[in-house]
Symmetry: D2
Subunit: 372 residues, 4 copies
């Protein structure tokens, strides 16, 4: 069954493998009239592009996006937007060897079991390059959200044992270090830690945090389509993510109702506000006007040069050293993917919420056509 | 937009409010030929029924399920199964007062903002009673999975600061204490802790763990429909859950590739096995034959008798004491809901996986009809 | 896989069999704030209720609807609406005999092949009573459309060889004869024809026509979700329908471009209008502001008392006379089902169209919540 | 909302405009292990390619398909298949003029109303070139169906007043005339008729018929997902189709139950068979083992060179002669599109039917993985 389509109304259909002809995405359901050009998308793709620092694979890919359809004279037409990123640096020869065995921590074994065989070149569809389609589509979603005033801040919260200190938090700093950490001192320490990992032929994990402000009240549906439920799915659908939490997250297990409940009060402009945000921006699965705050736990890169134990396709126990161009850490390049996935969820929730009330219908539809 | 339908092939459509006529669910997509009776469902509903211990609301509800359609002579017919649980203990008068203000930690405010007004009786659709539909549908999913050998163990891992000790783990103990903890000593301590919460007009949170064994290899799809992504959505769609993790979960952020990768080796029966299970049973979003292990962080009951600050619908700051029949903790009654939601995800993944290979098609369809 | 859910945003999940406990439907996705009571639904159900005339089965069913959820203080809440019609006149004994053979023109054989067995009582899920769920849900859709000014006229166009004459068309006449024909003379002739069919232990077919006016321009999506495509699916999903056409329909095959193209001209109020309506109200799959006009071809009731040839489940050639309470014609009772199905399609298209333009989004969502 | 995605399990996402960079489709949900190469797809695309005869537009397009993903070493991998056909003959200058007015019979007006503006070059997304994505995806579906023995015969049944004579029916003849008519004499007469249309600057319509044999029993679901319902949607989603009928279709309206019911009898090999096929291959929405027989009514090409009345975008009544490269008839090129759409529906029904019975599940899933 289909597994590469995301979204109920803003539908994103991604395709492509690490060593195929390219990676792409079709967006079906983008409203007409959005100003859109390739540069709008490229700047997000550049944040995940390889070779930006010593902490990402040296594979050389321009990752240049091309808009193939759905935009006319600089604006979206309301019909499907097809985006293409050609692969230019496929050196399949590197991967011939791994065809014969199962890399620990990778999807080699499960793909073989599920499908009977696999495209073993660079992980095929399970490659990190698959996220290009997510980021390209997410960039369009972010453009829509930006027009409605929604603002994203996504960053590396921790790498291995090094966590940012909120007292030193500086949003601008995110753009000054290759790890996208909003704390210069933590970024420095994390780089030292990563150097050590590289020397030890090892890899590191970390936590990505996303804070979304100016989110309209009322996004998300009760029951199964809670906003945090769709965010959790979106984030856990990323290859290396093993945990998701919103607001206080796992800390709520140790909290009490008196601590965890956020009191309401009337703001100065006569708006209902919350005195705290333990909830992370949702109540009953619906956005409450506070910033959305969630975190993703990212595992260490499974590709390490160190010798590991595994088995061959023929069922022989062996020891292997996985060759290739590995990132010692996935976290920094995954930051923009988290942002993209969250944007896809929010746009879908925005669309869904358009029909929440009868009077919303009347704002759009008059008796003989759209209301002017 | 619709928010109360779950599943792509095994589709579950739940309905009902706390103080309406009842709660129910329609299951569309259940295969024909499954032996099914009301008792199969009732035994799961009984695990979430109120009034079982001093730690759950004293509201008296039989929560008796009735099968209205889809079963003929003891077997499912392949057509929709409609399940109904009548509400019998609605005392709406209790709730008249909360119509006028927004309870902290509840969905009162967001429902009002989203829909313009709300059914304020007992939380309406955002009541914990909504989970009856989930559990009833999950019971059918669990029956299907049971026929394929899949086995579930779901239990309370921690309550407030009290966590089970794996050295004392006893599955049978789960049925001996009202908290569904597989550790008698922890259960005793947790009950003392809850007594203290009750005395302080406070409430507690906790962590639920689910271990699913004998899961077929190959469940889940690459990209957006990863098995853990759908589990995360399912679990975060439960009202009080604020976090989800699979396998080592958030701990992976501190781990390294060398530690976190699970080595493969050949088992005695010639099967590929993993020497450890940091991954929690999936690789690349697809089940790997190891047990699925995941956890949910559950917040403290937001309904507490203690005085809290909030605002009225008219925008006045007030202090309130929320009356009503509250659980001091949600965790024990949520255990079976976690199990039910996981079962819905697994059945959907089983169905989805039926078309993964051309030769699977040929096992079902011959040239002129189903293969005998 | 699920087959009893209809609609992408206004999702309708029907259930129930002819001789089970009842028939029902869950509507997920109805906007909040719609005034709704049981009488709003009942008046549509009464149009398909059996026993209204000598041309429908004498089975006695009150077909009384009950709203179980989703309505509070007379208005929809935005959460699922569960509707129930209890079966009261199930005489299963009538049907014991047909368990053993396959009625020609019925789904007995295909159900057995698909599912391995079947609920043979009155056709089970393939009974005409299944349409109760459609009509109940359609009634809610019609209420929504009515608030936007959309108006339906659905009627019997022909029965057997008797077709209405447009020169004698009278909408009021529809309510004066049991056949829902808008032509008194044709209705008289059709009744004579039906009497003859009854005498001959035979049954008749016919054509239903639906004209929907005041349809907003812009409903339907290009490509697969064309308005007429969804109408066609909706109508062909009715048990006895074998054909669908919109506008000139099959007559276009004999027409020419010069005849078939509808010229545009400017109306008196400065609106674009069409000089003719060969298209039946859509261009490129999108409503054009002209009335939607479509027709459904309904087959003769397959249940006839006359002797027929068939086979038993054990594979023996036999001759049978199907007993039971049969309608000599399905058409009159199907008129309201056609209307209900069309309404479901239109509401879904209305919802879908809410996100067609960026400026529609801005009408609903301001920077910090729904625009007041 | 998304309108260019078709199918529930075999999901097809098409994109592209007449004068954009290309046309394409992403197929998500194709089973792994299907042998597939570009030639498998190209031979279907060649049947709809322009410039094949004097009855299709002289626009020169190679319509060469390229497989961008999802195939490895000649077999499908189970991951998305991206197919691309580049546009090579876009002469946008031709269309500058039609930007200013609404062509009768086209979607110009409705696109402007729905989206606020339109890509006017060659109809943009509403161009007949949109069907390239359908045919490319359909070719993959046809390959799957071919492996299961399902066989298609799709042909032109009538053009204007010229209908094939069943006594002269010859399947081979379909490949001998440019109209895909299985009757040489009718094809000759139809060509004379079309010559006359061309001379009169007019265009013609017709009927396409599709007969699918060796269809497994049991495809299609009761209620909304009836096989004929999905066929109807698929066929009506084609731009120029105005009617759909299955089996006897609209003729059932004049028939009687005694005539229309197909008697069952036991075939020589002990199989249940039908003595006639008025039903066209389905009973209760489920395939019955007889050939599927359905027809589509195709309207005359709306683009005609003759002068027509219309209005400008500014609301002025004008007379226009639409320039460009028009087909005098759409029917012959639409034959393969009908076949492709039907194949998409059948594959989806095949997939859906895999979970109809509990014992089908057990054929695929053993306790610890797929059954070998």
């Amino acid at each position: 069954m289909a597994g590469s389509i995301f979204g109920r109304q803003f539908c994103v259909s991604t395709w492509g493998e690490s060593h195929g002809k390219g990676i792409g995405v079709v967006i079906d359901g983008c409203p007409a009239g959005l100003s859109l050009c390739e540069e709008d998308i490229q700047r997000y793709l550049d944040r995940r592009k390889p070779g930006q620092s010593r902490y990402s694979t040296p594979r050389k890919e321009a990752d240049q996006v091309e808009i193939l359809s759905g935009v006319f004279e600089g604006r979206t037409t309301g019909t499907p937007i097809s985006l293409l990123v050609a692969n230019t640096s496929q050196r399949s020869g590197d991967y011939q060897e791994i065809a014969s065995y199962y890399r620990p921590g990778h999807a080699d074994y499960t793909f073989d079991q599920k499908y009977g065989f696999r495209d073993y070149r660079g992980g095929g569809r399970s490659s990190g390059r698959e996220t290009i389609g997510r980021v390209a589509a997410g960039a369009v979603a972010l453009k829509i959200l930006g027009e409605l005033g929604v603002a994203f801040r996504t960053y590396t919260r921790s790498i291995g044992p090094i966590c940012i200190d909120l007292d030193r938090f500086s949003w601008e700093e995110v753009w000054n270090n290759p790890l996208y950490m909003p704390d210069a001192q933590a970024a420095f320490q994390a780089q030292e830690y990563l150097q050590q990992c590289i020397q030890e032929q090892n890899s590191a994990g970390g936590v990505i945090e996303c804070v979304i402000s100016q989110v309209p009240v009322g996004l998300g549906d009760p029951c199964f389509e809670k906003l945090e439920a769709n965010l959790a799915k979106a984030i856990l659908s990323m290859g290396a993510v093993r945990g998701f939490e919103i607001g206080d997250g796992f800390a709520v297990a140790h909290s009490t109702g008196a601590e965890n409940n956020d009191p309401f009060y009337m703001g100065e402009k006569g708006q209902v506000q919350k005195a705290s945000n333990h909830a992370g921006g949702t109540l009953g699965g619906i956005s409450d006007g506070s910033p959305l705050v969630f975190r993703a736990a990212v595992k260490p890169t499974p590709s390490i040069s160190r010798e590991q134990e595994t088995v061959t396709r023929e069922g022989e126990n062996i020891k292997v050293q996985v060759k290739g161009r590995h990132d010692p850490i996935i976290v920094p390049r995954a930051v923009v993917v988290v942002e993209a996935m969250a944007a896809l969820v929010l746009v879908d929730a925005l669309f869904s919420g358009m029909t929440a009330r009868m009077d919303y219908l009347k704002r759009i539809w008059g008796p003989t056509g759209p209301v002017a």
